[in-house]
Amino acid sequence: MKPLISLLILLISCFFSALVAIKHGAIDINASAVWQTLFAYDANVFEQKIVMELRIPRVILAFVAGSGLALAGIILQTVTRNPLADPYLFGISSGASFGVVLLITFTGITAGWAMSGAAFLGSALAMTLLLLIAYGQRARQVEAMLLAGVALSFLFSAFTSLLLYWSDPQAVSAIMFWNLGSFSRADWQWLWLPCSIVLLCMACMLLFRRGLNALLLGDESAATLGIQVAKLRLGMLLLSSLLTAVLVAMCGGIGFVGLMIPHLVRFFISQATSIGLLCTALSGGLMMIWVDLFARTILDNQELPIGVITAAIGSVFFLTLLTLKQKRP
């Protein structure tokens, strides 16, 4: 079976990519040290401490963020039946930026978990508004959601720009760096949160996959298959918003993954199968591990923002997709 083979290949490549990503970085660590860290950890050995305290949580966070964003993307694309939907289209990340900017301008705090908290509250605000609008517009839910999402996104961006206009240059650069995304804040203490939300989301998607598939047919057709369309859509929207809010709070703004990965996987494997969903999550994670590795190794002593790399790859990817699609009759 072809899809099963793709799943296996993805699993194996995720495993080896993770090992490569753990080995390489500001200083390269040999495989035996990595091995020892995993099975006989000694906190007094400097290399092992790097692997345990920095590299492993970082690779895990990168993987989880990648798969989470891919899942959020596939959920939003499915429930809106719009292949261009992505977690950032709905104002969730603009809400997060707004929260961070508010925090920085009014308290001066530019680091630490206060920023993640502010980002989470900001995206939660955007998400609540979006859900309320979707809930109020049961008849033309999809159109209302898309328009409201874009409007909210612009609204929060406007507030953010206004606040930035009044704040000092230091705050501006702090916000800028945060907005472009990074996994440098990964640590063991908070890793459980994105991991459990991504797992929860995956489980729900596998459980409700038939309902999600039926939504692709159209609201009316889905209803005639016994699906409670409005309920399922709101539930899934809530789930993907929560996922995005947590990931944005921990890693900052990482665009294009949610849009790109589901598209890429859909080319090869049908998203209507459970294997297709698993492959989407794994591909997102795999891509993010490599993007993070590039971000921290491509320049000496400097880390590139993740969002820049994903957006650059993403735009090129889309332009290629566009030309390829045009060639097809």
Partner: protein, 281 residues
Amino acid sequence: MSAQPLVRVRMRTACQHSEFALQVSNLDLVLDNHQILQNISFDVTEGQFIGLLGPNGAGKSSLLRCLYRFFTPSSGQIILFNKTISSFSHNEYAQQVAVVLQEMPEHFNLSLYDVVAMGVTPHKSLFSPLNKADHELIAKSIEQVGLVHKINEAFAHLSGGEKQRALIAKAMAQKPKLLIMDEPTSHLDVKYQIQIMELAKAMGITVIASFHDLNLAAAMSDSLLVLQHGELYRSGAPSDVLDAQLLSDVFDVCAEVSQVSCPYRDKTHIPHIRYHFGYQL
């Protein structure tokens, strides 16, 4: 000689299991203060093919939407196999009634097989995967509509007729007792119009379909329902329903109706409509 009239005066009998697949009585539908459907009553005998006719905006789609529970009627009663339709759960209802609509999944690269496989959805619980019997049922449905050679093709790349056949295969996989189709033959070539109707008939279950082509409806249906301004204007066997007066009153066209001989399906005659042109509307 015409097929026995289906839409008849309601007879309340002591018999628990009536032969009716569907009984609609005094149906009213009001949406946003607009009266869409008014006082519609009809019965459908099990196994019959019902054609729903009427000009644009007469309420055909709205009536069908009430029947497949997308709209909730403002008043009146719809009874499916002796049970009020609101008493079915979502899944139970989908196990009884399959619907073929004009909605098509164009994006997302779904294959024909994926789309047909969605038909078994109401028969599966949250956890159960597709088993061998399901796969066989899906394959059989695809075979019945003659699309085996396209089984792995993207749904979006199929032609209009093939898409419609795929949706019928989806309905077959749903194993319903009633099939509802909303203008299943619009935009299709003549060949596919006939093919789609034959496929629906071949399922051997009760079918309710709305039509634009009156001649096709007359040839295919055991009984016709004609709607005008949200009311049931006339109902009965095609030869009794379709005449020049009705075409003028309901459809606002000038036409003559002749009875042509029809050797198929124990019918002897079906009405045939010839439209006139060149007159002032």
